[in-house]
C-alpha cells in the first residue's frame, strides 16, 4: 500500500487535482469496505436528522424561475416544491466554485450550504455504507455509481425537475454505468492521452499510431506509461481500431503483440513521478493523464498533451442524489442550477476541469477552453469512450503481467 500512501502524499503536495484519475482503479476495494461497514453496523446515524425538520417556508422563493436572472437557454423549471433552507453536499475538495455557491444561496434562500470533502471514492462509499452522514448530494466517479445503485445508496432522479439536463452533451449519456441516464448527471471529465516534450522529439504525435512509431524509434528508452491496466490497454486497442474496453479474445491477442513489442522500449512504468521524469528530460513521451502537466511539469515550456485522433477513454465525475436526502428540494434546485450554462462555465473556470455541458462550453474562459490538456476539441470529443471496468477479464491481467515483466527487457 505504500504506493497509495505515496499517491496521496503527492496529491497533497501538488493540490487535490493532480491525480484525480489515479483513484479510479481502487474501485474494487469497495467490497472490503462493504464488509467492514457491515461489521461496524450502522453506527453513524444521519448527523443532520434534527435540522431537517420541515422548515418554515423559505421566504418567497417558490421557484427559481421568478427570481433567477435568465442565464439559461434551457427552460428553467418552476417547481412548486418548497426549497429547504439548507443543503448538505459531500464532494471532492475545491471542486465547486464558491461564487456559484453564493449565487445559489442568494437565489434560493438557502442559508446553510454545507460542503464537506472526501479525497477518494472509497471514502465516499464508506460514508454511505455507514449510514450516509445525512448528505443530500455527492460526486462519485461514474464507475462507482452502479455499485452504489445496487446497494441502494442513490435515488432515481426525477428528470422533470432538472430541465437543464438538456444541456448535457450526448457523448456522455447512455453510458454503461447508467444506460438510461436515471441515476447520475455528468459533472466533469478528463482523458487518458499522450504527453510529450516537443523539443525532444522529431515530430509531435497526433494518434496512437504516431505514438507507436515514436516509442519504437526516437523515443525508445524515453517513454513512460502510467501503471494502470485499463489505461495501458487503450493504446493498442484504439490503435487497432477496437473498443478500448474490449474483452474479445482475438482483439486482446493483437493488443498483446503490440504491448510486448513496445515493452522493451519503455523507460518506466510509473504513475507517481512520470511528470518529473518528463520535466527532467529523462523521458520525452508518456501515456498518462493531464494532472501532471500543471503540477510536476509546470515549469516545462515545450510540454504538450494530445487526445489521440484514433480515440481514447475518459473518466467522468457525476452528481448523484443520495437516498434519504434530508433536503431533496434544495438538492433538485442545485442539480438544475448547476447545469445552467453560465453557472457551469464558471465551474470549469474555477476547477479547471472540462464540463460535459455542451451549452456551457462556449462560455468557458477561452484560455481554459483552448487548453488541450483540459478541453478536448469537439472533434476529439466524438472519439471518446467511457472507461469501463474490465479488470475482471483474466486474459487482460495475464497480458498486462507479461507486459510488465518485459518492460525494458530486450
Amino acid at each position: 500500500m505504500a504506493e497509495r500512501d505515496l499517491d496521496q502524499a503527492l496529491q497533497r503536495m501538488g493540490g487535490a487535482r493532480m491525480s484525480r484519475r489515479g483513484f479510479l482503479y481502487l474501485a474494487g476495494l469497495s467490497s472490503a469496505a462493504a464488509a467492514l461497514a457491515a461489521c461496524a453496523g450502522s453506527s453513524a446515524s444521519p448527523s443532520t436528522a434534527a435540522s431537517v425538520a420541515p422548515s418554515a417556508a423559505a421566504p418567497s422563493v417558490g421557484g427559481g424561475a421568478s427570481v433567477a436572472p435568465s442565464l439559461s437557454a434551457a427552460p428553467t423549471a418552476a417547481p412548486s416544491y418548497e426549497i429547504e433552507k439548507q443543503l448538505y453536499m459531500y464532494n471532492w475538495a475545491e471542486y465547486i466554485s464558491p461564487k456559484n455557491i453564493d449565487e445559489f444561496k442568494k437565489r434560493y434562500g438557502v442559508t446553510k450550504f454545507q460542503y464537506d470533502v472526501y479525497d477518494n471514492n472509497d471514502a465516499l462509499l464508506a460514508k454511505l455504507q455507514a449510514g450516509g452522514g445525512g448528505y443530500d448530494i455527492a460526486s462519485p466517479t461514474a464507475e462507482y455509481v452502479p455499485g452504489m445503485v445496487e446497494q441502494g445508496f442513490v435515488q432515481k432522479l426525477d428528470k422533470s425537475r432538472i430541465p437543464t439536463l438538456a444541456n448535457i452533451d450526448p457523448t456522455f449519456q447512455k453510458q454503461w454505468w447508467d444506460p438510461n441516464d436515471e441515476y447520475l448527471i455528468p459533472k466533469d471529465y478528463g482523458t487518458t492521452g499522450i504527453l510529450y516534450r516537443s523539443t525532444l522529439l522529431p515530430s509531435i504525435p497526433a494518434s496512437w499510431k504516431d505514438f507507436y512509431d515514436l516509442v519504437k524509434g526516437p523515443a525508445s528508452g524515453k517513454t513512460v506509461f502510467v501503471d494502470s491496466m485499463g489505461d495501458v490497454f487503450v493504446f493498442p486497442l484504439k490503435m487497432l481500431g477496437f473498443s478500448a474496453n474490449s474483452v474479445d479474445k482475438g482483439e486482446l491477442d493483437q493488443a498483446r503483440t503490440i504491448l510486448l513489442e513496445i515493452a522493451p522500449h519503455l523507460l518506466a512504468l510509473d504513475s507517481n513521478t512520470y511528470g518529473t521524469k518528463m520535466a527532467k528530460g529523462e523521458a520525452s513521451l508518456s501515456l498518462g493523464w493531464t494532472g501532471v502537466l500543471e503540477q510536476q511539469m509546470s515549469k516545462v515550456a515545450d510540454k504538450g498533451y494530445v487526445v489521440p485522433s484514433d480515440g481514447t477513454i475518459y473518466w467522468l465525475d457525476t452528481w448523484v442524489l443520495l437516498k434519504d436526502a434530508p433536503n431533496p428540494n434544495a438538492a433538485y434546485a442545485w442539480l438544475n442550477f448547476i447545469q445552467e450554462p453560465a453557472i457551469q462555465a464558471e465551474e470549469s473556470d474555477y476547477n479547471l476541469y472540462a464540463t460535459p455541458n455542451a451549452k456551457a462550453r462556449p462560455l468557458v474562459d477561452a484560455k481554459i477552453l483552448n487548453n488541450q490538456a483540459i478541453f478536448p476539441t469537439e472533434a476529439e470529443l466524438k472519439n471518446l469512450e467511457g472507461s469501463k471496468d474490465t479488470s475482471g477479464n483474466s486474459q487482460r491481467t495475464d497480458i498486462y503481467e507479461e507486459f510488465k515483466q518485459n518492460i525494458g527487457k530486450g
Partner: protein, 298 residues
C-alpha cells in the same frame, strides 16, 4: 508442621496471583498477535480458496485454481528469490566489516557510531528511497558523474536491477549490522588472544574464532533482511522504474489492477509457505551439529 501448613495456602495464593499477573501481562501481546497476525493470515488463507467477485474483491468458494495459477506464474517469485538472496549476501559483505570495526576497533564514541546507524530510521523509508533517485540519477548523481568521467554516451543506473539491488542493500543494511554488532561486541577477546598465542594467523583466527562467534548474529540478520526483501515493493517501483517485476509488484497487480483478491491471496500464501520452509531449512542447516549452542533467531 504448623509453619508448613501456614506456608502452603500463602504459597498457593501467591502462585495464583502470579498466574493472574502473568495472564494480565501477556494478554495485550496475545491479543495483538491474534488480531493483527493470526486473523489476517486466516483471512488471507480463506480468501485464497475463493473466487473474484463480479465487481472485484472476494466471493466465497472453495477452489484451487488460484494456487495453480500462483505456481504457474512463478517468474516474479523466482526473480524475488534471486534478488533477496543476492541482497542478503550483499548486506553481509557490507555489514560484517562495519560491525566488526565498531565492535572491536572503536574505543571511544562507540555509542555515537551506533547512533549514526540508527539516524536514517528517523526519516521515512519512502523519502530515503526517493533520495536515491537523485544520488543515482543522470543529473548530479552517480550516472551523470560516470557519464562525464567515462565519456560514455549514456550511463543508466536507475531502472536497472542494479539500482534495485543498491536500494535493497541500503534499505535493510542496519537490520544486518545490529545483530552482527551485538554478537561481535560480546565476543570474548581472550579467545582471539589465545588463538594468536597458539600460533594461529590472522585469517585462521578470523575463520575459526570470529566467524563462528558471529554466526548467530549473521543468521538473525539474514532472516531479518531476507524476509522483507522477498516482499519488497517500493524499491523496485521507484528505483527500478517498475522494470524489475518482483513478488510485491505481482501482488499489487493482483489486488489493485485485476482486483482479484483470491488470486493475490493465493500468491501471498504461497510466498509465506515457501518462506517458512526455506527459513526452517536454513536454520536447521546452520544449527546442525551445533545442538549445544543456541542460535538466536531474534
Amino acid at each position: 508442621m504448623s509453619t508448613i501448613r501456614r506456608a502452603r495456602p500463602a504459597a498457593r495464593r501467591s502462585s495464583v496471583r502470579g498466574r493472574l499477573l502473568t495472564t494480565v501481562l501477556v494478554l495485550p501481546a496475545a491479543a495483538w498477535y491474534a488480531i493483527l497476525l493470526i486473523s489476517p493470515l486466516v483471512i488471507v488463507t480463506i480468501f485464497s480458496f475463493g473466487v473474484r467477485a463480479k465487481n472485484g474483491g472476494y466471493a466465497p468458494a472453495f477452489v484451487f485454481d488460484n494456487y495453480a495459477r500462483a505456481i504457474q506464474k512463478s517468474e516474479p517469485f523466482v526473480l524475488s528469490l534471486e534478488m533477496a538472496v543476492a541482497g542478503t549476501i550483499g548486506c553481509l559483505l557490507v555489514a560484517l566489516p562495519l560491525a566488526y570495526f565498531i565492535a572491536t576497533r572503536v574505543r571511544r564514541r562507540k555509542g555515537l557510531l551506533v547512533l549514526l546507524l540508527v539516524i536514517p530510521f528517523w526519516t521515512s523509508f519512502l523519502i530515503r528511497t526517493y533520495a536515491w533517485l537523485l544520488i543515482l540519477g543522470p543529473d548530479l548523481g552517480l550516472a551523470g558523474r560516470l557519464q562525464a568521467l567515462t565519456g560514455a554516451d549514456k550511463v543508466q543506473i536507475l531502472g536497472t536491477p542494479i539500482a534495485v539491488m543498491i536500494g535493497l542493500i541500503y534499505g535493510y543494511l542496519p537490520l544486518m549490522i545490529f545483530p552482527l554488532y551485538v554478537t561481535l561486541e560480546r565476543m570474548d577477546r581472550t579467545l582471539i588472544e589465545a588463538s594468536k598465542d597458539l600460533g594461529a594467523g590472522r585469517w585462521a583466527t578470523f575463520r575459526q574464532i570470529t566467524l563462528p562467534v558471529a554466526l548467530p548474529g549473521f543468521v538473525t540478520g539474514s532472516i531479518l533482511v531476507f524476509i522483507p526483501m522477498m516482499g519488497e515493493y517500493v524499491i523496485p517501483q521507484i528505483l527500478g522504474y517498475g522494470r524489475t517485476y518482483l513478488m510485491g509488484n505481482a501482488l499489487v497487480t493482483d489486488f489493485l489492477e485485476a482486483r482479484n483478491w483470491p488470486q493475490g491471496s493465493a500468491r501471498a500464501v504461497f510466498l509465506i509457505i515457501v518462506m517458512i520452509v526455506t527459513i526452517a531449512g536454513y536454520v536447521w542447516f546452520v544449527n546442525r551439529g551445533r545442538s549445544t549452542r543456541d542460535v538466536s533467531v531474534l
